[in-house]
Symmetry: C2
Subunit: 237 residues, 2 copies
């Protein structure tokens, strides 16, 4: 189990939760959508936007929080303004049976913002934010190199973060499918507004765009599977 799944809520008290919890209906999803785009909205305003009563909104809000469907509320910071203008991805190959140590060491590195275990050539990807490129070098050669669990690393720099979206819920999907189908009929629309949330009340046809013939030869697409024994390694972390 990951740290994320173990302690979903920072500072919250509902640790060790197991089981499916509550079933999320469409109203729950609407609440999550609103909360993702504006985490500081008042419950009263939330109720109005979702179209339910205030009391109901309070009940569902608390349920989502307690259930863990909402893990936490956070402010997205402009890292450049905060003095951490350099972002890098470090792909790490981890020595077998040493995941636990790797994770423990990760927890001690505050410059690590995100870490995921992946299939493919490497075992994990970590994202770090630091003040300058020298700090990346220090991070990799001094900090990561001192972890016995780390077998090898590969570092790339992030030049630009094009997109970071909070609109990732199944309901968006249906909407996009409809838009895509419409586009397929009417041609491209370059001026589309990517992040505009206004479509919450819009109709969401469920048509799916059919395959239209690719520009990329399928041979150039690689799906990279897990390295040997990766699945087993997940358990001991």
């Amino acid at each position: 189990m990951s740290e994320i799944s173990r302690n979903g809520v920072a500072g919250g008290g509902q640790a060790g939760r197991i089981g499916i919890g509550l079933e999320l209906d469409e109203t729950h999803m609407k609440i999550l959508e609103v909360l993702r785009e504006n985490g500081r909205i008042s419950v009263a305003a939330l109720a109005e936007r979702v179209g339910i009563s205030r009391a109901n909104a309070y009940t569902r809000f608390e349920a989502l929080r307690a259930d863990g469907a909402i893990k936490r509320f956070t402010a997205e910071i402009d890292h450049v303004r905060a003095g951490l203008g350099i972002t890098a991805l470090i792909f790490v190959t981890v020595r077998q049976q040493m995941w636990k140590q790797f994770r423990a060491e990760l927890a001690r590195m505050p410059e690590v913002e995100y870490c995921a275990i992946t299939t493919g050539q490497h075992d994990a990807m970590i994202q770090v934010r630091v003040s300058d490129v020298a700090a990346v070098h220090t991070m990799v050669t001094d900090r990561l190199a001192n972890i016995p669990a780390v077998k090898a690393t590969e570092t790339v720099f992030i030049l630009d973060e094009v997109l970071r979206r909070p609109y990732v819920l199944p309901s968006d999907r249906a909407q996009a499918r409809g838009q895509a189908a419409a586009r397929a009929a009417s041609g491209p629309q370059p001026g589309a507004q990517p992040g505009a949330p206004g479509g919450a009340q819009a109709a969401r046809p469920q048509r799916r765009p059919e395959a239209q013939g690719g520009d990329v030869p399928l041979g150039k697409m690689r799906f990279v599977g897990a390295a040997e024994g990766r699945a087993a390694l997940r358990k001991d972390g």
Copy 2:
């Protein structure tokens, strides 16, 4: 300019902001730290935790928001509970001079949660969240393959998200450095609390841990530079 830097605040009105904006002092940083771990805290409680008056907290809070240092407030959702249990990373090689189109198409794919332009073998990394593995396949072969800008892709699956931290501010760094130095003197402390925010008032010695002899041969560490002409390509997106 990326979408992120162009429209920092979702739904906000302060678009098109240029320039350095306000200088962030230590109090601003404290505010950001608190807000990252609890985006729904009241300004009154925030003032108390930071150790300033309410009026001051309101002023600074608004300044940070208007300046764009706080881009938005959002709720972190448990994607598994929300029905999007599969996360994948797709590394994309983009055809030169077609970044603009690539970005426009990305904006139409709601399953894309994050996209960054990187140095290294590929040009961009996108993170997608979908309901099942088949959807990843569909996404890559049907959606991405139809974008002329996409030359090639490589897909890996995320097996587990070990860490997602909101505690990424320069002030954390000094604290961690002090901890690291202390550890170097007193031995490892496996039971350390990674995400515990309580250390806000703690002393932050600025000592840096010196290099202690690596376990990883330096030859196994790769820093991957930008592909040819990448810097130029950034401008036209």
